[in-house]
Structure formats: structure tokens, C-alpha cells
């Protein structure tokens, strides 16, 4: 129900590297789950979706300064940093 190619494409969309040898197993297991999800087709579409269960709206904060992290705390968990910046592999 979900092809190897679909899995590969979704893998890229999710930025999770998948080996060719894994595609079949992923496709099988995911296929089983998607097949189960098929039960949703039995339900008609004539109802509004619920995005939020509580009927809250208009939650705001004032335009007032809050606490900021120190540079040290911001970079605390970064494995690669330099001169106060986060250091990433080059982006093409």
C-alpha cells in the first residue's frame, strides 16, 4: 500500500536517512498501519474538523520584555560552536 519509492520520498521529506535495504521492511510495517487507517474512509466528511478541543481564543502576551537566556546558556548544549555562533555543516 505504500511503495518503496513513497518511503524513500517521505524519508527525504522527514530528513531521516534510510538505506535501500530497509525500504521494504518500512514499507511493509507502514503499509499495515496505513491499511488500518483505512477505517477512516468509512466516515463521511460532512463535519467540521476539531483543531483545538477547548474553545479558547485570543490568548496574548503584552509587548513587554521578558527574560532572555545568556549567550552561554543558549549555546550550552551545542556540540559545535564558534565565537558565540552555532556552527553547522555547510548549507549548499
Amino acid at each position: 500500500m505504500i511503495t518503496r519509492e513513497d518511503v524513500r520520498r517521505v524519508g527525504w521529506l522527514s530528513r531521516i536517512e534510510l538505506e535501500d535495504s530497509e525500504l521494504d521492511e518500512y514499507s511493509r510495517k507502514m503499509g499495515l498501519v496505513l491499511e488500518y487507517f483505512g477505517v477512516l474512509d468509512e466516515v463521511g466528511g460532512d463535519v467540521d474538523p476539531t483543531y483545538h478541543v477547548l474553545e479558547i481564543d485570543n490568548v496574548f502576551r503584552d509587548d513587554v520584555a521578558g527574560e532572555m537566556l545568556s549567550q552561554g546558556d543558549a549555546l550550552l548544549n551545542a556540540r559545535e560552536k564558534r565565537d558565540g555562533y552555532f556552527k553547522s555543516a555547510r548549507i549548499v
Partner: protein, 476 residues
Amino acid sequence: MAYENRDRVKIGLEIHVQLNRLKTKIFCGCTTNYHGDPPNTHVCPVCLGLPGALPVVNRRAVEYAIRVGLALNCGINEHTQFYRKNYYYPDLPRGFQITQYDYPIAQQGHVTIEGEDGEHMVRINRAHMEEDPGRLVHEGTIDRSKYTLVDYNRSGIPLLEIVTEPDLRSPKEARRFLDKLRNIIEYLGVSDLDLEGSVRVDANVSIMDGNRTEVKNISSYKGAEKALLYEIVRQKNLIRRGKTVTQETRHFDEAREITVSIRTKEEAHDYRYFPEPDLVPLRVRDWVAKVKEELPELPDARKERFMTEYGVKAEHAKTLTGQLKLAQFFEDVVLDGVAPSMAATWIADVLKGELNYRDKTIESFKKEDLIEIIELLAENKITERSGVEIIRTLLDREGQNVPSIVKEKKLVKIESDEIDTAVKKAIEENKKAVDDYKDGKNEALNFILGSVMKKTRGRADPKKAREMIIQQIKEE
């Protein structure tokens, strides 16, 4: 005469404006005044995308967005919701940008500009709120650097994205639109557009009903015009050579003033938009009335008012209202008692030009100085030429004031005797011109007048001098 638009040029613009007059970011309390500060010093768990941190909407950001929407004659949506736009880039700390997709805050407005053939209406498709990503710094050039440095100070800065319909028909119209937009935003006080990065433009261009290309990375208004000029020529050349224009995204190289194709991964972006579960919907219809009431006077209205209230000429009104501070300067001067027509002429025709030439803003000139100059002019104590000279001196030299300049340069208008002497001398020295004048060539008079003005170092009243010249020649 309607604009032909032979090439059927269609330009649509997407302008991102930072609402940097807000004190804090759109979803957290980090301060927005990060320019000049070290990297990653205006961040918190929310805008850094730390796991577990949640966004909360800045109320004033919504007010500002409504302000802009109303100024662009848009309808403000009753129900508006933030969405997630999912994609991956190092400057995007959560792996998604919180933006608006369905239900933008403002829709379907218009702005009138001076187009190629008079007034031209540019429709606004929508204006929506979103957050700025962080900033990437490349070591060396973008294609040769081994790594990329990331600063999240900018992450979460409130942005308003304004999208036009493809109603612009030339690079000039695009430039005029951007100028108008800048003007309006300046008047609204929601953004300081002089700050670096405060405005970014993407343009969509097509000609002859062909495919359109998107041009990104335009960061100045001049750049926009150049980018569009280049792109249109490029497309025309392609068509002339029998090729078709491919639909693609191109990058504007500001330095070389060309657009370059971006060879990115083939994948069309699938942003998988869905409503942001951590943010509840906004219902802001009843804010509109209040915001509308509190809207400051906009450029067009101010221009009209200058014309009706002060009798200022249309041309002058347009120039004066073209910059908020200039308009303010004018009104301040008028409120202090100066005749509006004088003030308009001297500010729009003289002062502005002198400022532009020196790359200065109206803030470098004191209104008291202008008032003094105009007073001297009104009392006939100096000539117009002297007035100009005083302005120039004030701009070029530090710590000067009007009286001291007048004294130093002896600019007080001279008495009739001095003029009389100068006229006599000028007539003596310019026999040919006198003869030409007698022969009926009136322009020769200007030549003699010029000589008189030179001799009196501009302090003579040209009108009086002219009369005297004519008189003396007659009496010859």
C-alpha cells in the same frame, strides 16, 4: 494615454516588513533591538526552539498588522489562525516557521500609485503575520565555506508579509509601489525601515503571458528596480532566441546586478501546512474600529490636507509628504508662523535638494534656522540666492547659525547705490551684450544681470537690478 505594456509585463511583489518598532518578538519576550549586539544574546527557549518551549502571541503585533492592513485598504478577517510551514534550514530552529496560511489577518486591499499612465491601482492580495528566521553567516563565500554560523537573535522577529497581485507593469511602477509602501509604513510607525534587514522583497515576473520566475534576495528598493530590469531583458532575450522561459526561482546578485538560477534539489517544496496546535485562533473583528480610529494620518490624506488647508501646490505637497519627517518639519515651521507657500517652496525645492546632494536627512537641519532665513527673506533683507547660500553653509559647517553667516559673508542686501555702481560697471564691461539687447535680444539682459549678481556676490535684488539695467541702458 493608457500605457501600452507591449511586452505584457506582469510583476507581483512579496514584501516582508519587520515590525521592529515592537519592543519584543512575535511569540516571546525577547527584545527586538538586536542590531549590533553579539550573536545569540536576544534568545530564549521559545525563539531558540528548545524542546518544550511554547509560543504566545504578542498582542501589539496583531494591532500593528491590522493597522497596516487598514492602511492598505484591506478587509480584516474575523477569524485568523497561525499555521506551521514545515521545512528544514539551519536558521529555522523548530524545523517549521509559524506563519499564516488560510485565514491571513488582512486580505484584498489596494494601493494607488503614479503609474506609467497616471494613477494606477495595485491590488493587494493579502497581508499576513509570521516570524523571521535566524541569520546565517558564511565563512568566506557561500560556495567555498566549510561551515555555516548561525545567530538566532533575529529568530522570532515579527514580520508582515504583503503580497500584491501581478498588477505592476514595469520596474518603474514596482519601484513606485515600494516607495509608496515605505511611505505608508513610515507614517504608521510600525517599523523603522532604515534598520538593516527591515525590508525584503521577492518579485514574480512574467512577460508575454509566459512562465513567471521568482526573484529572491532583493534587499533594497533600488535593487528591486535593477533586478526587474535585468530579468525582463533576460526573458525577452530568451524569447527572441526562440526559447521559452522556465518557471523557476532565481537569486538576485546585488553586486553584479543580475539574477542567477538557483540549482537547488529538484523537490518542489511540500510544506505540509497545518494549524499551529500550540496557538489558539484569533477573533479580532472588533479591534478594527478602534485601530481605524487611532490610525495616524496617512500620506495621501496628508497631501490632500496640505493642499486644501495650506494651499500648497500639488507638486510640493507630494514632495513634502513623501517623507514623514519632512512633512512634520513643514508643519512645524508653518505652525510657527511662516507662510505656507514660502515654507513649501523653500523646503521642497531648496532644502530637500541640498540635503539629498549631501546624503543627509531633514534631521540635520534645525527648523529655527529655516524660520530665520525665511524671515530675512520676507523682510527683504537678503536675496534668494543668499538664502540658498546660508542653507548650504549651515549644512556644510558645524556650529554655525544664521546671523553669524549673514554677517561673515556680508549677505545683507545692498542698497541701491551699490547696485547702481555695479550696473554701471556691468554695462561698461559688456558692450556686446548691451548692443544685442538694444537689437531686441532680451536674453542678453540676463547676461548683464549675471554680471551684476557676480559683482555684488548675489546680494543684489535681481528684480531691482534688472530694472536698473534697463533704465541705465535707456539713458545711454
